[in-house]
């Protein structure tokens, strides 16, 4: 088996069957980006409806559907996959590995997410989207008519299984596949955050899986887990959802912290300040993230003791987060700062995230939360941490790693337009929402009467949303321009510090011809300072073992997609739905059987071919 074998097949087939972490990273990024645009469109629709008092642009149940799908799409189908895109594209390179630990599972994780996302969004065309909010609180979700919430449960269940696989895969990869010399305390901070995030996924997603199963049984098979009349308890859903949901927000933000740490250090030409404190803070945030879920439920009536405990635990998270903020500022202090677009997004992130953090501590005070709860103050808070935190971080990562992922540099002039329109638009949209909340505007309502005096701030907020839209469109134009006539760059365009910049451009599909020897934190920078042009290899050039491509992950995911349809329509369609369930699960099981039965040992790239190829790259 050699490269020639793969080259015979078409490009499309190659992408559908790929197990290469770099290609899967791009797949995650593109599909996550697509869902980001869908979720963004829904956000714009919401802002148009709320632009003026008593608008009738998008009312009642349709508004509920758009609102629900905006939240659900952004969290599960946009933010998470883009994070996984970066983890795939960067983590194996940063630790000096040739692929992730389980390339097949990696591909399966992507296709499960993709089909889950498609299933959820098909609800728009099949009788209406879910309308019970992204949190799907019972009994609203259990009594919601139509099949919208069924699409929510099954779509996210399938996508969630993919996420869980991805998390396990990265845990194993980071533990087992680090290059010689790459000890834990020499790992780049993005790898550290990917590691902790994967751990959070491993522990948090099972709670969601169980919650979805219970909700599915309530809806599809007439169980009564959340029906108080039948001895169930609706509050259990809230607990289960937030036992997942709070770690989820740290799953989202930690990789952004990692990106910021890489970008700020690179563009300050300085080692990250307080590396070990940063690592410790990351782990501590991850751990504390599991102890605070009930702060979403202060007004449920848990009692003053429980509320106080959760309030204190929540405020405690501000400490490691503060450590991180100070360390970024100290990294920049005295550094030789370059304000590239990537760094602009990172520097913009810091004060924005601090503002989101401050309102977070305000909300953590349980008595005050009775006032803020379910108001636009909360909406402002979580958009400050998710958009102002995560999305700015993701943009920063995109501009930073684009040369690594695609071999092209995004246009810096357009990039700066992108940053300023998006950044200003963001604050214009969400800053007034703090005051709207304090003035008493409740979240999730589709309109407000004129005499409440909420009109002008809402109008400003909508103008901000237009700016953010413009920023996003500029970004798309930037991508198109870059791919149309962007210039190819070297493997190390930013004067990078970490291993991913030690590779020529475009990245060879085996990543490292020779596994590098890591001699400290910022491995590449150490070699540069020692006057070496290349990483010191840890092994002689030899045959490289690579995994084979496989179409099975796609077919297996398609099977579960079909079964998902069956479960969604089981309560109304009966027999045909049952057939879909049996056929779909049958396809899934058959693929599992084939995967177990057929030995697939991968293939070897031979030393002679590798040396020839390597010379070609250098010349």
């Amino acid at each position: 088996m050699s490269n020639a074998h793969a080259a015979n097949k078409s490009v499309l087939w190659d992408w559908l069957t790929t197990v290469d972490h770099k290609k899967i990273g791009i797949l995650y990024l593109v599909s996550g980006g697509f869902f980001f645009l869908v979720g963004g469109l829904e956000a714009v629709l919401i802002r148009i409806q709320l632009m003026n008092p008593e608008m009738t642009f998008l009312t009642g149940n349709l508004y509920n559907q758009v609102l629900t799908m905006h939240g659900t799409t952004m969290i599960f189908l946009a933010a998470m996959p883009i994070i996984f895109g970066f983890m795939n594209a960067v983590v194996p390179l940063q630790i000096g590995a040739r692929d992730v630990a389980f390339p097949f599972v990696n591909s399966l994780g992507f296709w499960l997410f993709f089909f889950g996302g498609v299933l959820l969004n098909l609800s728009w065309f099949l009788g209406g989207a879910p309308d019970a909010g992204w949190t799907a609180y019972a009994p609203l979700s259990t009594t919601s008519t139509g099949h919208g919430v069924d699409f929510y449960v099954l779509g996210l269940q399938i996508a969630g299984a993919g996420t869980l696989m991805g998390g396990i895969n990265f845990l194993v990869t980071i533990i087992n596949m680090r290059a010689p010399g790459m000890t834990f305390m020499r790992m780049p901070l993005f790898t550290w955050t990917a590691f902790v995030t994967s751990g959070l996924i491993l522990f948090a997603f099972p709670a969601l899986t169980i919650g979805f199963f219970l909700l599915m049984f309530d809806r599809v098979f007439e169980a009564n887990f959340f029906d108080a009349n039948m001895g169930g308890n609706a509050i259990i859903w809230e607990h289960i959802f937030w036992i997942f949901g709070h770690p989820e927000v740290y799953i989202l933000i930690l990789p952004a912290f990692g990106i910021i740490s890489e970008v700020v250090a690179t563009f300050s030409r300085k080692r990250l300040f307080g590396y070990s404190a940063m690592v410790f803070a990351t782990v501590l945030i991850g751990f504390l993230g599991f102890m605070v879920w009930a702060h979403h439920m202060f007004t449920v009536g848990l009692g003053p003791v429980a509320n106080s405990i959760f309030a204190v635990a929540t405020m405690a998270i501000a400490i490691p987060t503060g450590v991180k903020i100070f360390n970024w500022v100290f990294t920049m202090w005295g550094g030789k700062i370059r304000f590239t677009t990537a760094n602009l997004f990172s520097v913009g992130f810091i004060p924005t995230f601090v503002m989101g953090g401050v309102t977070g501590v305000m909300l953590a005070a349980a008595p005050a939360d009775y006032q803020y709860h379910d108001s636009y103050f909360v909406v402002a808070h979580f958009h400050y941490v998710i958009v102002g935190g995560l999305i700015l971080g993701l943009f920063s990562g995109l501009y930073y790693w684009y040369p690594r992922m695609f071999g092209l540099m995004l246009n810096e002039a357009l990039g700066k337009w992108n940053f300023w329109t998006f950044f200003i638009g963001f604050h214009l949209t969400f800053f007034p929402q703090h005051f709207l909340g304090l003035m008493g505007m409740p979240r999730r309502y589709f309109t407000y009467p004129e005499e409440f005096g909420l009109g002008s701030l809402n109008f400003i907020s909508t103008i901000g949303a237009v700016f953010m839209t413009v920023g996003t469109i500029i970004f798309i134009i930037n991508v198109v321009v870059t791919h149309a006539k962007g210039k190819k760059v070297s493997g190390d365009p930013w004067d990078g510090r970490t291993l991913e910049w030690a590779i020529p451009n475009p990245t060879p599909h085996y990543n490292f011809l020779q596994t590098p020897l890591v001699r400290g934190l910022d491995a590449l920078w150490i070699e540069k300072m020692a006057g070496n042009k290349k990483m010191t290899p840890a092994e002689p050039v030899g045959d490289i073992h690579m995994p084979n491509n496989s179409i099975l992950p796609l077919i297996m995911s398609l099977g579960f997609f079909i079964a998902g349809f069956g479960f969604i329509y089981y309560s109304s369609a009966g027999a045909p739905a049952l057939i879909a369930i049996i056929v779909g699960l049958g396809i899934g099981l058959a693929c599992m059987f084939l995967r177990s039965w057929i030995d697939d040992h991968g293939h070897h790239l031979h030393k002679e071919d590798l040396l020839k190829e390597d010379k070609g790259v250098d010349a």
Partner: protein, 110 residues
């Protein structure tokens, strides 16, 4: 097997040690396999018969389940062997988080 034995005494000694260890391990496997079947039968019997009350039976089978987990992890998945520090850490932190979460949840609801 006699034909495989080497004249080199050092090598011979180490291979003999390996053999003894393997034999010990095989015995452990056999014993635990039989034990696990027996424990399962006992657990089933405890629930099937009316001789003991339900609450006692439930406690009893939880204890049996704990023993089964031990067999599974240590005998069959070799958790006691060297190089299993990460799985140990993973299991320990998972248990810690699960205990705190479930404990708090139960405390809050009932």
């Amino acid at each position: 097997m006699a034909s495989n034995e080497q004249p080199n005494s050092v090598h011979h000694h180490s291979s003999l040690q390996k053999k003894i260890k393997l034999k010990q391990e095989r015995r452990q496997h056999n014993v635990s396999f039989v034990m696990m079947i027996l424990l399962t039968i006992v657990a089933f019997a405890a629930i099937a018969s009316d001789a003991i009350s339900n609450s006692v039976a439930i406690l009893f089978i939880i204890v049996l389940a704990g023993v089964q987990v031990f067999f599974q992890l240590y005998i069959w998945m070799h958790l006691g062997h060297k190089g299993h520090e990460f799985p140990m850490w993973g299991i320990a932190s998972g248990l810690l988080i699960a205990l705190i979460t479930v404990g708090t949840l139960v405390g809050l609801i009932w």
